[in-house]
Point group: C2
Chain length 84, copies 2
């Protein structure tokens, strides 16, 4: 694999798992006041459309990365709605 593909894979990995620290922090804190609902709503809709895009193009890396992202994003959105 060449350097450009490795950079792309690392980039995809980091952006995919980036919501995980927010999930952990919000579960621990039980507070989400400073978090923007609209940010996570826009992100959820955007990543959902990326997932549809991947499915329509039959592109497995896009489906996998955005499927994991969407799962984590929906947890944060649910926690935001729960804790306000």
């Amino acid at each position: 694999m060449d350097l450009i593909n490795i950079i792309g894979l690392v980039a995809a990995f980091l952006t995919t798992i980036s919501s995980l620290p927010q999930v952990i922090k919000t579960i621990k804190l039980k507070e989400a006041r400073d978090i923007s609902f609209w940010m996570w709503a826009l992100l959820a809709l955007g990543i959902f459309l990326w997932l549809i895009y991947g499915i329509l193009k039959n592109d497995f890396p896009i489906i996998l990365a955005n499927g994991i992202s969407l799962f984590l994003i929906l947890i944060v959105l649910g926690l935001k709605i729960k804790f306000k």
Copy 2:
């Protein structure tokens, strides 16, 4: 343009601007306690690598989307560091 490309463009637009409501909210609130530093640090590094990937591949849409994203993400990260 076909439907798949339109879905991809809308997805890219939404994920690119999704940090904007967080920027506005944090500037108004002057508080960022509930926001995870590590989420925004991972996201900044991941999007920075997407930007490098786009530059190395000479792919203008990837450069544009991730350039705007990185700008907004660095503002949130700066506000998080400032307001704790």
